[in-house]
Structure formats: C-alpha cells, structure tokens
Amino acid sequence: MLSSTGRALKDSDGKPGSIQGSKEERVSGSIMATRSTEKHHSSVIKAEHFSFYYGSKMGVKDITMEIYARTVTAIIGPSGCGKSTFLRSINRINDLIPNTRVEGRMLVNGQDVYDKRVHLVNLRQQVGMVFQKPNPFPKSVFDNTAYGPRLQGINRRGDLQRIVEESLRAAALWDEVKDDLKKSALALSGGQQQRLCIARALATKPNVLLMDEPCSALDPIATGKIEDLIDALRNDYTIVIVTHNMQQAARVSERTAFFCLGELIEYDSTVKIFRNPGKKQTEDYVTGRFG
C-alpha cells in the first residue's frame, strides 16, 4: 500500500529555475513568496487529534492538520512548543525515547503510522528526515549517499553510482564533491555536510522530506544555499520544515502552522499567517511581542 511515487528526478542544477516568480520577489525586497497557495492537492500527512506524551509530560496535544502534497509547510513557534515532537512523530523517530505514549491518529500516505501492522522500514524510506545538526556517517561521501539504496537492496555498482549522482545533484552538492566521492564526509564543511544529509535522505526516493531546523547550525551563506535547495525541491517533494527563524519560514514555505505550548494555534497559508493572522497569539508571535 505504501508505494513510493515513481518519478524521474529533474536534471536540477540546483537553481530555482522553475520558480522564477518567487526569485524575483525576493530580489525586489519583499519577504513574502507570492506563490499560488490555492493548490488543491491530496493530503500526504494527516494528523487527527494527535497527542504525544513523554511519560506524564505533554509533548503535543490534540493536533489536527493536513499537510498537502508537493507543498512546503513550515512549523513555527517558541521553544518547547512541540514542533520537533510533532515532526518526529511523523516518521516515528520518537520511538527511540522510552516511556512515550500516543493518542489519536497520524496518517502518512493514507496509513496510520502508529498502527501495529505498519512496516517501519517502509515508512522511513518514504519519509526522509534531515536533522538539526548535520550528521553524516563517518564514511565516504559515496557511502553516505548510497546507504539508503543499499538498505533497499540495490547493490550493483552501476545502479548505486547513478542514484548517488542523481541525489547529489538534487541536493546541489554534486559539483563540489564529484572529483572525490571517496573523501570522508567529515572533511566537508558544515553546509556541505547538511546538503549531503539531504542528498542521503533523497537517495531513498521518499515523497516526504521532514526537516528539523536544518539551518540552525549553519552560517548565513550555507543557510541561503539550503533555502535555494528547498526551493528547487518544492515541486517534487512534500516538505515539512520546523524552524525557529520566522523570516526563513516566510521565505520558503507556502503554508505555515503556528504551535504554542503543545497546541496548534493556527494553520493557514503563509501569506495569511504573516500578513493577517487570525488569532491574537499568532499575531503576537509573528510581530515579535513574545518569542
């Protein structure tokens, strides 16, 4: 049931060539992306009254929201509001923490991921994740990128090389590493390492990409490159990005969710959230009255 949507990766050279409009907007100084937000896509991720508890402490409570296909959704909110908890519940990475409890349903690609019968390995190959601090394995660039495909059983040298090149190109890293794929991943700079992690996640051909504050450990130039990358990927992947940085959320996302103290306060198009928020709490946050 959970099948990955077969797609040919575009010969993307990393430049947001397909999103001319937004680039111009950015250049003209406006921080808002004027993308069409009225896409009627199917929902890829759907939370229904979803709650997550660390022991007795509440992580998130009663979240109901739908994330649509091929959109970039940002989750913003002050520290400790449950953004990361929610994100990590989508691919069940939270399972590593002992003593946790779940209520409600979390549907990904149509299936409740907390159902006993779900195949975790499949789920995680469909839903890629990029972490806050770049964490490439202490192996070569090639081995890092090929890690996922190897798990899927692809072992032939030629196939792996093709997938590695595609993923590295998609992550806008190919030109910088193509001369020496055997180089250790730890020898790359921070920004390169994060792009490698993105390439690694893309190599398993997921249809969802979860990003947990991917730029918080990077310098502004690297951050810019990652944001460009997100732009380039937006038409092919469903991206959910948790970010502390409101301006970043405004720059990259089409829809934004505002969390506060474990609850979903408001979820709407980015334009609306930032220009004309419905709730007072939202307005207070985006205008900086509290953080």
Partner: protein
Amino acid sequence: MKVIRRTILDKAFTAITALPVVLLVAALLVILTPMLWRGAGAVLFEGTVEWRKMQLAEFGHGDEAGIRAEADQAQAARAAVYEMIDKFKSGVDAEQLTDRAKEIYRGFGKELQRKDVPREQYTMLRSLSREIRDKLETAFSSSDIGQMRELTNDVLQYETDDRFKGTIAREFFPLARKYQEAAATVNLNKRSEYARDLAELEQIIRDIFGPRPMEESPALAQFRYGATRWDQAQDLLFRLLWKEEWVEKQPGQPLVKIAASRKEQFAETELKGMFDLVENNLGRMLNPKWTFYWRYFTDDSTPGHYFGGIGPEILGTLILTILSMAFVVPLGLISAAYLTERTHEGPVIRIIRMCINTLAGVPSIVFGLFGMAFFVLFFLPLFGAPSKPCILAGSLTLAVLTLPVMIRSSEEAIRTVPQTYKEASLALGASKFRTFVTVTLPVALPGILTGVILSLSRVAGETAPILFTAGIAVGPVPKSLLQTTRTLSYGSWDMAVADKLAALVPHNQYGMVVTLVLLILCLNALAIVIRSRVLKRLKGH
C-alpha cells in the same frame, strides 16, 4: 586572593599532579631495568665452545666441522690440566691404586689359568703376586714414607723377573714406581685431606670442562657439557681458586665465612701449578665468543630449562591469548549491544549488571577452579572430548575471566556513539541490527579496541586460571587444542617455586619473565597502532 598566592598554588597543583607520574616512571625504571638487563643475558652473552657443542648435539644448530675443530683445540689446551691431576691423583688416591692392584692380581690369575700352567708353578706365582699385591696395598695406605719406600722397593725387585714378562702382572711395577715418585712430593699425613679436596676439585673441573673425552656420556643433558657461558665459567673459576671456609676470627665470636686460597692448600704439591694454568689459560680452554642467541625464542629446552630456549612457552602463551580473545570479543560485543539497546532499565537488566560487576572482582584462582570444574570436568565430556586439562578449556576459562572488562569497555564505547548517527540511520529505514553493525560498531571501534587491549594484557600474563585447566611445567609442544601447553606465566612460576634446577640458570628465569613483559608490550603496541589507525580513519583523514 592575591595573584602571587594564586600563581604559587597553581604551580604547586601542577607539580602535585606531575608527582604520581614521575613516581610511576621511576618505579617502572627501577623494576624494569634490572629485569631487562638480566633477561638480556639470556639472549646476549659470551658463549663458550661447550655451548656451541651443546647447541650442535642437542638442537642441531651450528657448523659441525668448525665446532669439532674448535673442540679439539680446546681439548688440546686442557690436556695439561688433566695430566697434572692424574699425576697427583695417582700419588694420593690410595683406594684407587689399591683397587688397581687387586685388579691386576685377578687378571694375572686368569691369565695363568688360560695358559694352563703346571699346578706347582701356578700356586707359586699366585702366592707371589698376592704378596706383591698386599705389599702394595700396605704401601699405598701407609703414611710413613720410609715404610712405603721399603715396600715399593721390595716390589720393584721383581720388575725384571721373567716370569712376569708379557703378562698383566707387569703393570704392578709402573704402579709402584709412579706412586713412589708422586708420594715423594706429597705429605702423606695430609693425604686424606687431599683426597677429599681433590674430589671437590675434580667435580669443579668437570663442571667447567665437562666430562673427559674418554668418559661415557652422562644420561642427563646438563652434565654432558662444561660451562656453557663465560660468566658461569668465571664463577666456577672462582670456586676453583677459592674455598669457602668457616673460621673463628675472634675467639668466642660466631664463625665467619672467608675464602681460603686453594692454591695455598696445595702449595706443597705438584698440583699448585694447575691453578695458575687454568686461571691464565681459561680463555683458550673455553674459547668464549659473544653470542646473540636469537633462537632462544624458538628453541625447545632440555628438562629443567637448563639448556635451550623458551619457544614452546611463547607459543603456548600466544595460542591461549589469541584463542581466548576469539571467544571473548564476540561474546562481549553481543552482550554490550544487548545492554545498550535496552532503553528500559528493568529489574532483569539490573540483575545482569550486578552479575557482571561481581564477576569482575572474582579472584583469578577461583576462575581457575571454576574452569576445571565446569569446562574440564563437565563441558568437554559433553562433546566427547576427554575430561583432561587442555588449551581449549584454558582459553575458555580465560575468556570468562576477562568477559566483564570486555563488556564494560564495549558498553562505554557504544554509549559514546552520538545518538544522532543512530537516528539518521533509522530515519533512512535501517533496522536496529543493521544500524548497529554498519553505523554504531565502526564508530565505537576505537573504544572497543581499548577493551581488547586491556583484556589482552590481562590474559597473556594470567597464571592462576590456567594452573588447572591448561598449563603444565614440563611437556611436549602441543599438536592439538585438546592438549596441555607450557606458557610463559606458568613457566615463570614453576621456575621460581618448583623447579630445583632453576637456581642454576638465573638467566633463563629472567629471560622468561622479560619475554613475557615484552610480549605483552608488543601486543599492546600492536593494538594501539591499530586503534589509532581506526581513529584516524573515523576522523576523516
């Protein structure tokens, strides 16, 4: 606090922290240097011709022609010494001379019978020879030189007698004459004293030069050769020249040990020349040469480690160590993996941890007994093997001994692997097992190798666990895992406590211990090199 005071305190603190290190290094030097020095003596020493002879005969090493030539040369140099001794002996050893006289008498009797001499003549000759024999006997044991001379002259009257021509009885006369000559130079009163000292001297000479060319080869290897090492020869030379005596230096005081010159003891005799002869020519008689006995590490040894090397011991230690590592590393890793993967610290886990910690503190002798009771008597027979000590049981025991260390250090190492690697791997769809093997283990490898190093050092030097399970002091080189083996640790203990001959070969004792220490150092160094390589590769160089 004033800055000056703070600076002084800082400096004092640095000094105090450096002190233990300095003390440790000093202690190491104090312990290791003499040990290494003496141990080096097992491999680097001045070996005599006797040593080379021994190597050729017992182990088959060396150039046969060259050694034979050397031995002949040395023998030629020694001939003078033997001559002097023999001469002296013939004047002193009354018993021997008497026995010889009796022998001649008996031989003569047999000859007469064979010749089928007429009865009258036979009886007469017999009684005559008996008379001669008795006279000689009295002469040999008399301390009155006048009487002796008279008796021997009586005997010598018959020298020209035709009846004794061509028979063994002729030998009576040179016997008598030699005795006359020799006795002239000997103080007959001191003869018994001389006899005793001579026996001692002869023993020392035999220790230095080995058995005489005509003597039959003794059964035990250690007696077949003379002093094999120059330092040994020097010690024997000292014993030759000086005799230890207890004398009363001051009346009423306890006896004091002094060294009395043997030369002076024998000053009135012909033998006094021998001492100088030996002292000045010992080099030619033994032909010492600096030898680098590298085969020390590969040769077997004669019983008691008197000659030879410690090859089998080294082999035994290596086999036991490597085999026990082969058992303990996977077992320790798997246990550590289980312990670290469990996120919920329930009562079961706590009990397991308590057991591991307890095991770490059990004395090694208890492990030895356990090994014997469990592995040798119970486990081995389950697989049809005879329930006897063997290398397999020994290495299993050693593996159990070092398991807690291995588990603990592996666990530490695995815990230091950043959680985010695990998360990244799982997020890509890897199973927990796959994550462990392809991500966690390689990152934890340096720490695990540290555990391996610690275990290795412990296992290589352990004696108590193999006392009952694998070790023996004397035995053949093992051909299968179901046999016992000698080891360096067991051998060191044995040489220090049980082996009676060990005191004669201190260089072997030291050699064994030093080899053990060096072996462990080398194994450690190897493991450290491997560890640093792995670490470098992990860091991305």
